[in-house]
């Protein structure tokens, strides 16, 4: 019997979440990667190290930003490779693409899973995820032949394959016609300040209303930890941070290894988007703040004092261990 084909989709750059999905895909079968943008030498090297022998590249121009078109590319790639398992690192955009692909493939959709495994008895793939702000653990099976799953960042540690491959990239022809009457008027990519992307970072430092709009201390600690910066809706409403820095039920859902929330009360809307985080740290003047209650570790005091002191202590430690 030949191993099951698994398709992993890279909507953007080949980074951590794609390699995590490839690592997960290897436990299910033989991974092939579909990229919607050209693959450069370092990308091919990273995929090769992850054991990917075959990569398909669909060049769709700006049309790739339309979920219906990207979904068509994913469905085409699944058909070309014969993959009955399709994995996408999750995001709002990825979920839309997954939906269109699933619709075209008559597939079942598993959203934001942390694990995936084949059930040998039923020949079904089963996804695990935490729901209701992390209070319940569920496992959900796809009962039809084809499954499309979006995979949470940081749920799996990306590891190299036992045997590295040399990845061959081949073009994939996909119809790039936009849905009737749809037109992209403008697309502007905002600069990232060199920090990792919020949705995929292993560590995230967040500031809330308690910063009073001064994020310098939050950013300082984030940079010493190599972390992404996030925030609450109130700070977005105030114009202190852009909308895609918002964590919560109507913002980005994150589950980093380490979440540090400073000056954040921990309202249920915020909570729902971060509670699956590995370790939760709260810094707040109020010991009764809900975030303090759900935290693993909390420091009660002024974030403008505590964060810079913590950053300095960590920097000192790192300098010492580098020096020795």
């Amino acid at each position: 019997m030949t191993a099951r084909q698994v398709l992993v989709v890279a909507l953007g750059d080949v980074r951590g979440p794609v390699l995590e999905a490839v690592t997960l895909a290897r436990t299910l079968g033989t991974p092939t990667v579909l990229s919607l943008q050209p693959l450069a030498e370092p990308d091919l090297h990273a995929l090769g190290t992850a054991g990917v022998e075959r990569a398909l590249v669909a060049e769709l121009g700006d049309a790739r930003h339309a979920a219906a078109v990207a979904g068509r590319a994913v469905a085409t790639a699944a058909e070309v490779t014969g993959a009955h398992r399709v994995l996408l690192p999750t995001s709002f955009v990825a979920k839309e693409v997954a939906a269109h692909a699933a619709w075209l493939l008559d597939a079942g959709l598993l959203l934001d899973v942390a694990s995936l495994a084949e059930d040998g008895d039923t020949d079904q793939v089963v996804g695990g995820k935490r729901v209701f702000a992390g209070t319940w653990e569920t496992r959900c099976a796809v009962t039809c032949p084809v499954a499309v799953a979006t995979v949470r960042a940081n749920a799996v540690v990306a590891t190299p394959a036992d045997r590295a491959a040399s990845t061959a990239a081949e073009p994939l022809q996909v119809d790039a016609t936009l849905p009737r009457g749809l037109e992209l008027l403008e697309r502007e990519v905002r600069p990232t300040a060199g920090r990792p992307a919020l949705a995929e970072a292993a560590t995230v430092v967040l500031g809330g209303r308690g910063t009073e709009g001064d994020f310098a201390a939050v950013e300082e600690l984030a940079d010493v930890l190599g972390a992404a910066v996030g925030t609450t809706r109130d700070c977005v409403d105030e114009g202190w941070q852009p909308h895609d820095a918002q964590v919560g039920q109507t913002g980005v859902t994150i589950a980093p290894r380490l979440y540090i929330g400073a000056g954040i009360s921990g309202a249920p809307h915020h909570h729902g988007g971060m509670q699956a985080s590995g370790t939760i740290v709260a810094v707040n003047v109020d010991p009764d703040a809900p975030l303090v209650q759900i935290a693993d570790f909390a420091v009660i005091g002024d974030l403008q004092e505590i964060l810079p002191a913590a950053a300095a202590a960590i920097r000192e430690h790192l300098d010492q261990s580098r020096g020795s």
Binding site: H65, A68, F92, V93, K95, E96, A99, H100, W103, A107, G108, L109, L111, D112, V126, R130, F132, G134, T135, W136, T138, R139, C140, V142, T143, L178, P179, G181, L182, L185, E186, R187, E188, R190, A197, A199, A202, V224, G226, V236, H243, D244, Q249, T250, H269, G272, T279, V281, V292, Q293, F297, A298, V299, I300, G301, I306, A309, A310, A313, I314
Partner: protein
């Protein structure tokens, strides 16, 4: 403009949300309500219809208690409400739910053309955020999703969205499917007299057969996923708390992170 707004009745965030033996969400009328972001969808629908002397029709798919979501929508100003309900719908996954909602839109489109389907960006229980895309795929209509700013330009809609570090503006000809975020607008608060009137308002009830759907196309039978296990996670043991009273808070925080090997990604 004839606008259909899809609204979901969900357990409130602060309630003890739970999954039953069958892996389905436990719903009671006391602690469930209209999905908050769907109020933004209703507001956007009312604004679109209002500027074009149109009509807003609210549609929900859910058990009998889900009628509360429709009444709230009527109180906000929707002119009609349609409740797709019946045991056959129970246990539907995103595929079955989208199929039924699209059938309801087609049903209404058959009476008179529908120009826009409006939805919220996510149901705050399932958090799937895929219903709008699946409904667009079912209908074969273009979509403007996760929209933060929606404008009507003649017969076309322009939506701005901010996702994954990029700002995009899309234009779509109608008919189209649009999902809005909670920052798209400020939903109006219904007046007491409208809330009272909505309690008595007539609601159209449709079963799956009314929508032209077979038994095996809806609910658990029409789904492609099945919850095989659901368990409540153990209670959190409670935090370890330190204070910064003597100015040691920052150092204690650093020590906690270092001791627990959480400074891995450092540069």
């Amino acid at each position: 403009m004839r606008v259909v707004v899809l609204v979901k009745h969900v357990p409130e965030l602060l309630s003890q949300r739970a999954l039953g033996e069958d892996g389905r969400t436990v719903r009671t009328s006391d602690d469930s309500a209209l999905n908050e972001v769907d109020e933004n969808a209703v507001e956007a629908a009312l604004q679109l219809a209002g500027s074009s002397e149109g009509e807003v029709i609210a549609v929900t798919l859910g058990p009998s208690i889900a009628v509360d979501a429709l009444r709230r929508t009527l109180a906000m100003g929707a002119s009609r409400a349609v409740h797709a309900t019946g045991d056959a719908f129970a246990g539907g996954d995103v595929v079955a739910t989208a199929r039924a909602l699209a059938a309801a839109v087609r049903h209404l489109d058959g009476e008179a053309p529908v120009d826009v389907v409006l939805t919220g960006l996510a149901a705050l229980d399932g958090l799937g955020s895929v219903i709008p895309s699946l409904v667009a795929a079912e209908l074969g209509w273009p979509q403007l999703t996760v929209v933060e700013e929606l404008t009507l330009e003649g017969q076309t809609l322009v939506g701005r969205r901010e996702l994954d570090g990029a700002t995009e503006r899309w234009r779509a000809a109608t008919p189209a499917v649009v999902s809005v975020t909670d920052s798209a607008n400020d939903p109006r608060l219904p007046k007491m007299k409208d809330l009272l009137a909505a309690r008595a308002a007539e609601i159209t009830v449709l079963t799956h057969t009314d929508l032209g759907l077979a038994d095996e196309e809806v609910g658990a039978a029409g789904s492609r996923t099945r919850v095989v296990e659901a368990a409540q996670r153990p209670e959190h043991p409670g935090p370890e708390i330190v204070t910064d009273d003597d100015g040691e808070g920052g150092v204690l925080l650093a020590r906690y992170l270092l001791d627990n090997d959480l400074v891995g990604g450092a540069r």
